[in-house]
Symmetry: C2
Subunit: 210 residues, 2 copies
Amino acid sequence: MRRFKIPEVTVGRLSLYLRCLNELEEEGIEVVSSAELGRRCGVNPAQIRKDLAYFGEFGTRGVGYYVKELMQDIKRVMGLNRTWEVALVGVGNLGTALLRYKGFQRHGFKLSVAFDIHTEGKEVPEGCVLYPASEMERVVKEKGIKMAIVAVHYSQAQEVAERLARAGVKGILNFAPMRIRPPKKVVVKNVDMGTELEILAFYLTMRGAK
Amino acid sequence: MRRFKIPEVTVGRLSLYLRCLNELEEEGIEVVSSAELGRRCGVNPAQIRKDLAYFGEFGTRGVGYYVKELMQDIKRVMGLNRTWEVALVGVGNLGTALLRYKGFQRHGFKLSVAFDIHTEGKEVPEGCVLYPASEMERVVKEKGIKMAIVAVHYSQAQEVAERLARAGVKGILNFAPMRIRPPKKVVVKNVDMGTELEILAFYLTMRGAK
DNA sequence: CCCGTTATGTGGTAACTTTCACAAAAGTAG
DNA sequence: CTACTTTTGTGAAAGTTACCACATAACGGG
Ligand SMILES: NC(=O)c1ccc[n+]([C@@H]2O[C@H](COP(=O)([O-])OP(=O)(O)OC[C@H]3O[C@@H](n4cnc5c(N)ncnc54)[C@H](O)[C@@H]3O)[C@@H](O)[C@H]2O)c1
Ligand SMILES: NC(=O)c1ccc[n+]([C@@H]2O[C@H](COP(=O)([O-])OP(=O)(O)OC[C@H]3O[C@@H](n4cnc5c(N)ncnc54)[C@H](O)[C@@H]3O)[C@@H](O)[C@H]2O)c1
């Protein structure tokens, strides 16, 4: 139950467990063992127990974990028992797809504001407001938004990140193909789809494909 | 120079080095030390040297690495000195954004065919051909395509992956929010944006944001 | 209420990754 | 050709993460 340095892989797996627990719940299963959960999500059972042990004792010996309870517990420790307002910067190809995606909403992330340097002719879904990029600091600060997604051209990503940080954002998910150097007190996660394809290319080459 | 088990983090960093070397080349810099490269991409210099040492000796002692040469070497070991034809399955919000994205092309990945169960009214860019999903096995096999991107609803992802595998695909990049269990002899990379946001939420909660 | 069964929580260890630190090689200047 | 500087390539240490194996706890049947 020591809340100090939790490895990111562990946090990622918690998210995975949550997905799996969701399915179990939908199937009407009320109790699950680490063995069964491990089989379903491809993780060693001991790993699951160790991951959970960072945060407390959630299971019952001889029984397993109560699905609904464990879901609540994981959501609580991950900060998912609430709605997070998220700002999107860059309403281009990718930004528009993200805005239209219903999945974030379902998991408690609400893309409530979007920013772009060009707003003319751009549409955003119900429930989201589009602003010119110049309004970013003001709107983000006023709304107290703490989380943002960056989907601008890579040459703009670092600057946008720093502006967001100044406006009070504490977490950034970056899709531009360059690692944003995290501003002070900000957590940055970079998702680089190009790199993912390149990793695939590597393993295919290694295994002698084509 | 032992080509056995290369850790995936190493491969990811190779891709990062490549990005960085590109910038150096654009700046007209011809030689770079591991120290300078490390500063630029936020990686320990010894780490860089170790990563490269898996594949050979690319540097010159007392000098450093010749930028152009190292780029070629990394591209060669990663299998990026060629064009990869890629099939896209699922031409929805995300699929369309991916098709329109110019960045893949620039790095040698060509999304030359796309598949969807609904093709009516769907547009794909020049250079890409859209087929009904029922044609998947035939087209992929005929074209000898080895790499695919899956952007369908999560309930379809596993089945699509298995069909792709049967058609000869050896590498799959999956965007559906469920881990695809890799079919025999297929490498699967899962990109889960929901999980990424949840990891951010965790660290923000941990640090007491909001 | 006790005993057998089951599955958790965890100490210890194995496996893996990162970093240190230095010998070896290459270049340069005298 | 030698002395000196620079920076690689790498063995060994340190640090991290995953897994095994078992004592411990809960449950249920007799
Ligand atoms: N489209 C994809 O599928 C895809 C895939 C992988 C990575 N990416 C990356 O995501 C980013 C966006 O890609 P895209 O295809 O949507 O590009 P895009 O050009 O369609 O969209 C970028 C948007 O950002 C806006 N913008 C630019 N600078 C801005 C600023 N300073 N402030 C606010 N808005 C700004 C532009 O007006 C534009 O609308 C790029 O970095 C790209 O490399 C995209
Ligand atoms: N849109 C996003 O920004 C986003 C973000 C994160 C994750 N995702 C994930 O990516 C996937 C696609 O998202 P989307 O928003 O594009 O959804 P979407 O519903 O807009 O698109 C899915 C497309 O796949 C097609 N399809 C369904 N089953 C198919 C099959 N068996 N074979 C071929 N085509 C099939 C559908 O006709 C549709 O066009 C989903 O799994 C989603 O969870 C999307």
